[in-house]
Structure formats: structure tokens, C-alpha cells
Symmetry: D2
Subunit: 424 residues, 4 copies
């Protein structure tokens, strides 16, 4: 963890400017009838989960270029997540990935408590072979033609639930790579039937207070068809499984040009939106830092969430899911958490009464201008003030760099093997 006094001294150097900016923004918002104090409280109440695997440097099929001080295991990852939350006060939970993060639950709980974190949804993995799984997932897992392979994949998911129960998680996210690379390779219909059968077996093992999230993705690693290819299929799954099953939306898992905020609105209406995997992308599932490529899109997603936040039963699991290939993963996660929080606050200051009037009056120009007015409001002072009040950093990346944390862990952790490749 980072020394509290460092954060305090970093904040002290910025406090006067922040106060001035916060006051100026407050006056401006007041003129629009917006209470900055209430917005600051909303900001402070917002949280998004960190994926444990996001703390390590990611890569592509071409190569992986690790950085200094890569986390060597889940305990290192929890340390890194603790630092992120310490600096942002916006990431209170971690989402684990099994088998990567398998460890004694008692030790996990102990470490989490030490770094001030809880555990969010569990993630299973049947897109890779496991050392202790005798059967390969090369041709599929939950939808494999072979019964024993499907069973093995189901058991793995049940084990994830078991681990999750021991550490206080309340949800299981199921994302699989099953699909096909060539037309004809698989029966699109029967493969889906097999998938549903497997999911029902997992669902049968779901504790009563848990949820299971079905996550769709248009392609990759399967390049012709994917079993859970879009939200329509994900909805069918959640409907067929039952009330504890919901859909998880990853912002990078859609076809080009798709309007994601509409999917958000539809899934909420169907009572089936469970949460998000946040990231940003320009081409495919690029897994870039949230809000760095198309920030207005992120805002529009949150605009739906805020507009519909009073929908009965809506309880969203916000998670980040990114691959940090060229940045320090801790810094990318800090930035991403802040950008997600920013979109939430911007969406929260939309003048919804005016917006509704413009809609009723068929005044698209002013309705659109109303959203843009919120989006272009620089709410950084609100985010910074919310952090300051929580004891986090006004400028988290600068504080992180000042702390020397990366160099410290680099000195302690083993050097990560780079390379990868041959996979083109």
C-alpha cells in the first residue's frame, strides 16, 4: 500500500486549485439548478470492480511485452488492486478468475481485508486447457459434442461458485470461447442446445442469493460463429435459465456500428441486465482503457443507466475488463475507473425535466443539446473532491508515480517472461 502521508502531501499541493475549480463549477451548476454537493455524494458512492487479471500486462496473439514488477500471483494482484482503490476510492471490489487466482479462501479473505477490498463476481475459464483437466477445450467446453468434456466444464464452474461462496462473492460470470471457425464445423442449433443443458446444470448449483451472468461476444477466439454471439442469444439464455440468470454487457463485444445504449435499454426492460464489463475499443474487442476511444459512447450508456436507475429490481455489477499492453496496468485501471465514474457523474447532471419536454415537443435539436451540455461539463473537480473527501488522491496517477510503488514491487517480484508468439 502507499503511504498515506504521501497522498496527503500530494493532495495538499493541489487543494487550493481544486477548491477554486470546485467552487466555480458549483456556481455554474447552481445556475442550471444542479446541486454540486449532491453530485459529489453520487460520485463518492460509485464503485466499479477491478479484474484481478487486469493488473498484469496483457498481449495479443503476436506478442506480450511485460513491464516491471508484474504480479506473480493473486496476492500480488490484490496488492495492486488495493493501491488502485486507495488512490481512487472507486474500486472497492475485485473480480477473480479461476484457475488463475486459485488460492486458499482464508488467505484470500485475509489479504483482501488487509488491502481494503471485497470480492465481486467470479469468472470461470474454459477457453484454455487446465493442467488438472484431463480433457481439452480445443473444440469447445460447455457446448462440446462430448458429454464428458461438457461435464468437466460444468464441474469447473461449480468449483468457481464454491470458491466464491467461501470469499463472499455473489455472482458467477460465464464467458466461453465456444463456437466454430468454419461454416459446417458445428450445428449452430444443437451446439446451443448443449450449451443450454450445461448452463442448466450450473444454474442448478447456484446458491439462492447468487446470480449467474451470461456474457455474449460476436467473435474471437472463434472466427466464424460463437455460441453466445449477441445479446439476443444472451437474453434467450437468461430467460431459459430463470430469475437468477442475467446478461452481462461487455462494451467491446458487439458488431461494428451497433448502438450499445439501446441494448442496455432493452435488457433493462426485459429485467435481464446484470452488469457490465467496461473497456473501450475502435475495431474489435480491443480491450482498451475505458473512455479513451469514444467517451461519448460511454456517457450514453450511463445516460440510460441514470435515466432508468429507479427501475425496480435493477442491481448492476459494474466491472472493468481490459488488456493493458503498453501501459502500467495499475495506471490504466486508475484512469479507467475515473473515466467510468466521470461518465456516471456527467450522466447524472443531465437536465432530465428539460430533456423530457424537448422529447414530448419533438425538438430533437434541443434534446440532443441537453445531453451534450451535460457531457461537455468538466466534472473533474467533482471527481477530485469526492476522492479527496474519501482520503484518496486528487490526482491519482501523479500520486502513484510519486509513490514509487512500481519500482518497489519490481524489486521484490520475479521478472516476467515475455515473448509469446509463433501464434500468427
Amino acid at each position: 500500500m502507499i503511504d498515506k502521508t504521501l497522498i496527503e502531501s500530494e493532495n495538499a499541493a493541489r487543494q487550493a486549485d481544486l477548491a477554486a475549480d470546485y467552487d466555480a463549477l458549483g456556481s455554474r451548476l447552481a445556475r442550471r439548478g444542479v446541486d454540486i454537493a449532491a453530485l459529489t455524494d453520487r460520485a463518492a458512492g460509485f464503485g466499479v470492480a477491478i479484474p484481478s487479471w487486469g493488473t498484469g500486462t496483457g498481449g495479443t496473439r503476436f506478442a506480450r511485452f511485460p513491464g516491471e514488477g508484474e504480479p506473480a500471483g493473486i496476492m500480488d494482484k490484490l496488492d495492486d488492486c488495493g493501491v488502485i482503490h486507495q488512490l481512487t476510492a472507486a474500486t472497492p471490489k475485485v473480480s477473480l478468475h479461476i484457475p488463475w487466482d486459485k488460492a486458499d479462501p482464508a488467505l484470500l479473505l485475509e489479504k483482501a481485508q488487509e488491502v481494503g477490498l471485497g470480492f465481486d463476481a467470479m469468472n470461470s475459464n474454459t477457453f484454455q486447457d487446465h493442467a488438472d483437466h484431463p480433457l481439452s477445450y480445443k473444440y469447445g467446453s460447455l457446448s462440446h459434442t462430448d458429454t464428458a468434456t461438457r461435464r468437466q466444464a460444468v464441474e469447473h464452474n461449480l468449483e468457481c461458485i464454491e470458491i466464491g461462496q467461501a470469499i463472499g462473492s455473489k455472482a458467477l460470470t460465464v464467458w466461453i470461447g465456444d463456437g466454430s471457425n468454419f461454416p459446417g464445423q458445428t450445428s449452430l442449433s444443437r451446439q446451443f442446445d448443449r450449451y443450454l443443458d450445461s448452463m442448466k446444470a450450473i444454474y442448478a448449483g447456484l446458491p439462492g442469493d447468487w446470480r449467474i451472468f451470461s456474457e455474449h461476444k460476436i467473435y474471437e477466439p472463434a472466427f466464424y460463429s460463437t455460441v453466445v454471439q449477441d445479446w439476443g442469444t444472451s437474453l434467450m439464455i437468461a430467460q431459459e435459465l430463470g430469475d437468477q440468470a442475467q446478461c452481462l454487457v461487455d462494451l467491446g463485444h458487439h458488431a461494428p456500428n451497433v448502438n450499445i445504449e439501446m441494448i442496455v435499454a432493452r435488457l433493462i426492460r426485459a429485467g435481464k441486465l446484470g452488469g457490465f464489463h467496461f473497456n473501450d475499443s475502435k475495431y474489435g474487442d480491443d480491450d482498451l482503457d475505458s473512455g479513451t476511444i469514444e467517451p461519448f459512447r460511454l456517457f450514453l450508456v450511463f445516460n440510460e443507466l441514470v435515466e432508468l436507475e429507479d427501475t425496480p429490481g435493477l442491481d448492476l455489477a459494474h466491472m472493468i475488463d481490459q488488456s493493458h499492453n503498453v501501459t502500467d496496468p495499475i495506471e490504466s485501471l486508475i484512469i479507467s475507473a475515473c473515466e467510468i465514474q466521470r461518465a456516471y457523474v456527467q450522466a447524472s447532471l443531465v437536465d432530465r425535466a428539460a430533456l423530457e419536454e424537448y422529447r414530448q415537443a419533438n425538438d430533437p435539436l434541443m434534446a440532443a443539446a441537453t445531453l451534450r451540455a451535460a457531457f461537455r461539463t468538466d466534472v473533474e473537480p467533482i471527481l477530485a473532491e469526492a476522492r479527496r473527501r474519501s482520503g484518496a488522491a486528487i490526482d491519482p496517477v501523479t500520486a502513484y508515480r510519486a509513490s514509487g510503488y512500481r519500482a518497489q514491487v519490481a524489486a521484490k517480484r520475479p521478472k516476467s517472461a515475455g515473448g509469446g508468439g509463433g501464434i500468427v
Copy 2:
């Protein structure tokens, strides 16, 4: 209609070659265990509906360039459709569009009988203003914020059903342009609620032996959001309305890269696939002739349909929906009907037993090769023989051109005004 003796003489000139090709193909297929006679029967039994509006030259927002002898009204269109069916024996029905095709039902029935056609699904139109509708659809129709406008749109759909009942139609296709051009312009959620309310009012007026088809489209004419934007939303609609509601898939209405045959498989599993609007496209809703841009995609759609053809309750409405901007529309419809039929026959000769074995054995290479072997089989002799046996033309386009039909109608019909944007 075209003189029967012309078709006979055209066929006579081609019959020997056809017989030779048919026999050679028959031998080759027999070696693969496929009975060409059965395939020819399947081909002969296949039909796809013609859209009445497809007989006129279409256009883009930039311009419309009409051809000679454009049909001046529904009676001319039915004449043209009659010729298409006479030459192909593959287009036994016509799909009408109201108000464009509004006419005395008795006269419609009389003309249809004269040209040997029946009536397929009715199509309503609330994407344009009507001379006799006092309220404008500029800002929406079935999902408009204004109750009276929604009511007007509902009434129009009920009128379409009424007309359809009088002429023997059994389905209503609802495609609307409602959506928005700017973020914020509309509440994505409440607009959908209003749409559903309107559709329920229409559904309430649906005769017991009718179906209602919900047709999705990702964009155009709305350029930011569309109420029924994808098959997931279309499925929600069909589920909410009831058993008589199904989804219609237009091949050109999806996001780039989307795997359409998967949507087909999913909707069949959900019991909600109602039919198709066939066409081809490269970029957006290009509405090009079926099978001319990506013929393997059309084949893969039919591969699903044939694989799942014994699904209980499956009853598909096959329709063409195209815009013919640079060709003689009659010729484009002939070609399209033949290409659709071709894909159906190719899909029918897939060796499904071998395919299933390869799938079970996780042999993607041979599974894919099995599909390709069917696709690359030149089934033209089967299609031509099926036509010949039905009294249609072995080579329909050549026969059509030889008939001089276009010049004859051009002499009789008023010249079409060109210029402006074309409505399709």
C-alpha cells in the same frame, strides 16, 4: 402475359443440352447417393413471394432513373409479377404494400387469378406521410409521442389487415422507420413501450388464422437509433405479443459482419422465425439482387433452413425485398427468384449424415468441405428442368427478352417521371 408458344420454342432450342447436362449431373449425384429426381421435385415445390413494389425501378436519396414501361399501378404490377411467375414457376404469390397498392379487392382477386398468382403477406406503410392521414410521421408512427398519431398508425395497420382478408392474405408485415437521429432525441425505453402498446392494439385486431411479422433493421431512415433495431428486440416483441407474432429476417438489415445464419438458428429455436425478406448487400441495406454479392451467405442461410426443416411448427414466408435501380426490375426478380431457389437446392444436397459424423468427430476441415461440396455443385440443370416441367422457361431472362414484353408495356404505359429521390 407472354405467349406460351414463345416459351415452348425457346425451351425447344435448349432441351437437348439441358437433358445432357441433367443426365451428367444425375450420374454424378448418384455417385454421392443423391437422387436428382427428388431434388428436382424439391426445386419445383419451392416458391418465394414477389413484392409488388419491386416491379418498379427504385432509387436512392440522390436520384431515381426510371426505365421504360414502369408499372403505373397495382394492376400493371400484377401483370409484371405474372410474367415472372410464368417464366420461373417459382414466384406463386405477390406481397402488397398499402397504400401504394390500394384497390378494390374484387378487382385485385380477379387480376391475380388472371395472371395465376395468390397474395402473400400485407405490408403497411407508416414511414411516409399519406395524403389521407392528417397527422405526419416525421417524428414517428407506432412509437410517436403523440397518442393520436399512434392511433392513426394503428388504424392504418388494421386497414391493411382488412384489405388482406378480402384477398386471401394471412399475414401482416410491420416495418417502421421510427427511431431517432440524435442521442437524446427520444427515450429509448419509453419509445419502445409506446411501440409495444401500438403493436398490441394491432395484434388485438389480427384474425385467428393470421400472423404478424416484426421486421428489424439496424438503421435507415433513422440514423442514430431505430426502435426495432435487431433480432433481439424483434424477439422481445414477438414474445410479448403472443403466438401469432413472429420475426421476419431481411438479409440486409444487420450490422456489418453479423452471422445471419446464427440468427436464423436462434429464432427457429425460440419458435419465432416467421420468414424472410431476401436480397443481397455489401454495405448497408443495399437491396441488391439476391445471391449476387455473397452467394455463399445465402446458401448458409438455406443450410440452416434445410437442416431444421422438420422443426415442428416451422412455416416460413419467403419473400423478396429489393430495389432495382439499374436493371429491368422484372429481370432482377427473375434472377433473384432463381438464385434463392438455387441456394435451397444446393442446401438440399448437403450430405447431412456425413456432416454429422464429421461434427461428432471434431473434424472441422471435412465438415466445412462437405458444405462446400454442395455449394459448388452446379445445380442449374435441376432448376432448369424443374422450370421446364412446370411449363416455365429453361432460360427465363432470354425468354423474357425474346418476348418483347418490356417494349409492349412501354408502348401502353405512361412514361414515369424520373429525377428526385427514389422511394423503395
Copy 3:
């Protein structure tokens, strides 16, 4: 034109708030080493041309829904453009489209002077048939297989130059719809040769102080291939024609996912970037209001322009090209001009020295954060102050609505026929 006193009284009501916001922003920027006065001067010096056709309501191939007071001819359009410039001080020029705007040059000049405008690039039209052109462009214009048709299209372009010379224009923009709808329809190579021959004939008639802009577009109205389909082809054209030929980039004319700012950088390096057609889009050439769909993309384009603004010989023609289907076109053009100006100002306050340091240090996170810091700065006070100083409106849309201009012209102008497909 709008009564000056109305603008003054509207501004008076907003001046105190603006002054407060401007001062607060000035202080904040000063802390970052940015001089708000210099930025305000830059804003005031910025201009973007209005397309004459943008003042009328546009449409799609499905329908056009005209509004009140549609301009009946070029003189009405110039009145509307005058109002836009009066309110924004950001649109000093109008771009004409022939034959739509054909008129006595003396009268055009007189009207332009009256409304305080100049003339930007001329636009030719060979994507529609002309009443006085005997040959049709149905199968192409500058690239038609028929010599006489190509000649007719060339002559039309030469006439556009002639008109332009009479009114002080210095550039011709050539955008054509030529291409094909079906594989095989045209020889992709020879069609391009014919196009180049025609362009050379036009280029030969270009005055020495003029430029000719080649504008690419991936598709529409041609749906399989387009002669000038992308910037690579446009570059080949400009290279082959000579120094007076440059490329024009329309933001909506690219394939999905394409990185437009890279194209900007490449064309500048090739010495061939001539200018822009600004608009915004989500799916195809949606022609929506600039900056309303993906504002960060617009910013990134201007980031390149500002970064490279000292490139010798760079002289860009900024134009808007949009279709206003559901808004008052005057309002959409006001909004668009302001959003384009906003992107320019935001790009102007990027801390380029810091950015370059981060780049050299391979610090992508901070480099990206540097751009985002500029983007999220709310520069509205700068834009408003620049307008105020030029006698334009602090809040142009509100002033426009208060003026009653639309109702006034609606009372005077003939009602526009709606219905059919809209041409934009």
C-alpha cells in the same frame, strides 16, 4: 436578416454569466499556461462554409418531411445562410451546387453582399439527370462507357467553373455517384481510366488560381463499387491531375472503424489535403449534425490539423455537408458550425510541448491524458465570447428562435411538397 437589437438584447441578458464563466475559465487555463485571449482570437478567426443545399430539409430514399418556410431557391437559401453567419460569425461563405443554385451571377453577388457572405467551392452534379442534359447519368457520368455522356458531364463541370469565376469562387468540388451495383457490371480498371480522362479535361479548364477537389466515398448511390471509393484512389487522382488537384475528406464517407485522423495526416504529408465536408455519422453516410454522434472523433481530426497547421502550403477549405431531416436546417447548421469551432478550439489548447515529451518518453497513458484534458475542457465561454465580440449571438439557437425568422419566411415562401424520397 435578424434585427440587430434582438441579438443585442439577447446577449445583454447573458453577458454577466458569460463574463463570470469566461473569467473562471481564463484563470483555470492560465494555470495550465494557456492564454484565453489568444484562444478567443483563434476562435474568432475560424470559419466554415455552409452548403446552400443544407438550408432545405433533406430526406432519405424512403421519405422527405419538409418543414415550414423551406427556401424556394438560391436567394432564399442565401438569406438563410446570412442569418446563420449573423448569429454565429463562423460561417462567412456559402458553397453552391449547380444546377440547383443556377442564377444570374450578378444577382448572386448582390444578394451575397446584402447578407454579408462570400462564395466557397462550387459543386457540380452528375449524380442526377438534368432537364437540359439530353443524356442520362443512370449508368455513370464522368466514367460512363459512352463518350458523349462523359463529354456532357465534363461540360457541366466546366460550366460550374465558369459560374464560379463570375462570383469569386476559387475551387470546384467533384463528387460523383459513378460505380456499379453488381460484380461484373463495370470494368473496375477501365472505368477509372475513363474517369481520369474526364477529370483531365476538366482540369485543363481550371483557372490558374483555382483548385479542384476530388471527393471519395465508399458507397451510395452505387452499392457494389464506386469509382472514387477511398482516399487512396482520391490520392491517385490528385497526383495524376497535378498541383491544383487535392483531396476532400467527408467525415461520413469511410468504411466502418476507419481511423479518419490518420487519413488526414497522410494526405497532409502527400501535400494533397484540400479540405473537408464536415458532418457526423454512426452507420453510413448519415450526414448528421457535426459533433453530435462522436465528438471525440471530430476533436481528433482537428488535433491533427492543429498539430500540422504550420505545414507549408496547407490551405484547407472547411465546409459542412449534412442532411437535416428532422430539425430546422438553420438550427442544425448553427449547431454544427459551433461544434466544429469547438473542436478547433479544444484542439488548440492541447499542451503540445507536454504531449511531445510524453511521446518521446513512450508514456502513452499521459500522452492520451493530455489530449483528453483538452477535449474535456468546456470551451463554450470562449466560443460565446468570440461570437459576442463579433456582434453575433452568445446563444445563437435561442436568439434565432426568439427572432421569429422561421415563421416570417414561412409566411412568405411557398409550401414545400413533401412525400417522396428526399435528395440531399
Copy 4:
């Protein structure tokens, strides 16, 4: 290598059927004025190079699932390539990748002679770090901000040329992953300048009878911008470098919806088309087996190549570049070589005289039908006969399976480590 007698006995069992099919096709083609013997000669003269790395099982960033008998080094790979050519007679050359295939040139030549192969273009690799390169390519290679890193990358390319010279190669293909993941990370313009400087240094070392191929790709592994992102940039590079520089088109490296055959036509006109990396794809750079996803697209590419084959100076390097994740790589390469050859033969039987007449007559329907008639001709008997005459297999995959080659090498070669992963 596979026992010749096995191939002979496999062929013997198929010869009668092939002869019958070949004769039937010959008769049918003769009716269309096409000489099957000439086509068979063309087929026999066609060759496409195998990428050495394609003989190993590929993977994605999520996982790699190796198969049995993975090649352990370049000598194993050459054995596998020899088998492919033995069975298809269509893959006479191998394309090497350095450093993966680094070996004593004398041994390479010896092995190549043993297996009956030559060497095609060399491929450099600066998208991964090398054990013996002190500087990392994490932030770029030929376009890196650091001079020493660029120099290291240049030297590597010069070494590739040196190796290539020793083994009879005549070309260097340069594909790099350089680009950026975030807006701002790099100067789009200066990064390109640096790239050009490096390429000029490589070009300076190019032997006089060599060519250098610039290969563009829209994205991956860089996810915001890529230095050589499209054919326009590739063209600029080839123009700037000189006559020995040309562009290489990989079918999977374009934006969605892009018309690749137009790019082919344009690059031929510019005198800059150097060759292809063949594969197929549905979403991104999926690297699937050629002709398995969209076979008509492959045909249309070859349609351009055949139409323009007499262009002076046209000399194309045909190579395969695929990733075989779920199939036996040898089988995928066999299938791909055959599908590429198939497209070439189909394109060769287009009735070009008729096509040209239809084009001149503006008869798009018949022009398109002319292409489709060629595409749907099942030319398998021609391909099979060409193979038979060359001593290769009538049915290469079946012969390969019958040979037991995979089991034999699996017994000899070390087991490949699977896994991969953590990279998500």
C-alpha cells in the same frame, strides 16, 4: 514425404470417375467455347507459396491448442511443406520467417531440394522481441521514437535479405505491428516519417533483382492506429521508396465492407501491386482457410487478376498467410491452395468477350450473370486432372490421411507445449 505408390493407388481408385466428370465438363465448356485442355494447363501452371509458420498450429491471445506432431523447427516445416506440394502440385515455394526459421542456408537449400521446393519472399519480424536484440519493440520498431531501436530493426531486415540471398529468395515482405493504442500516444505524421526513413535504409540494402513488399493492415496488434493502416499509405510508401518497392495485399487486413478487388485494380494501375497474402475472414484478421468463408470474394479478386493479367510488368507473388487453430495445418494448407487455384481457374473461364459487350451495352444484369456463370462452374475435375497429371493426388486430403503422415511425424517430433494465455 509420402510414398508415391500410395498416391498412385489412391488416384487409381478415383481415375474412372474423374475421367467421366472431366469429359462431361469438357463437353459443357466446349458448348460455351471454352477449351478444357487449355484451362487444365493454366491450372497446372499455377502456384502459391506456403508460409513456413503455417505448418504449426496457431492460436489466439486466449489460448493455443497444439496438435499432434507439431513441427519443431524449420526442417520439420519444410518436410510438411514438401508433403503439401507433393499432394497438390500447387505450392512450389516456401516463404520463410526470420528469426523463427533461421538456419544454415546450405542446410536450408539441401532440405528444400530434398523435398522439391524453392524459397519465396522472406519475412522479417519486429513485432516480437528477439532473444538476441537488446532493445524491445514494445513501443515500435521501424517507427520507434528511439534511433537505436529503429536501427536495430533495420539491421534485422537487412539480415533477412542476406539470408534470403543465400537461399535464392528475391523479395522481402515487411509487415510491422507499429502504431498506437491510444489517441495522442504517437504523432501520426512523425511516426510515419520515421517509418519511411527506416524503410529507405532497408531499400538501400536491397539487391538490384529483389523487390520489397509493404503490407498494410488496419489494426492488430495496435488498436487505435497502425502506421501502415491501409493501401493508400502502402502506396505512398512504395512510391517514395522506388521501383523495387510494391504493395502486398492480405485479404484479411481491411476495414469491414471494403471492396478488395477495387484495391487490386487500383494498385495494378499504379504499377505497385506486388502480391498477396491469401486467407479468408469474417470479422477481423481471422486468418481462416482461403475460400472457406466468402468464396465469391476470392473469385472476384482473381477475376481482376485474370482480366488484367497482360498488364506490362505485372509479376505477382502469391502467398498463403493463415492461422490454423482447429485443423491439421497441413490439411488446411492443402485445402487453401486448392481453393485459391479453383478461384483462378473459375476466373479464367469467364466469357470476357461477352462480358465486355454487356458492359458497353450497360447491361449490368447480364454482365453480372456472366461472372456468376463462371463462378458456379464446378471446376473440380480440372483441378483434380491437373494434379493427377503432375503426379499429385486427385483427392489430396484423403490421400494425406491414408498416408499416415501425421502419426509418423507425431511419433518422431517432440510434443508441443500448449497453453498460452493469461493474455486477455
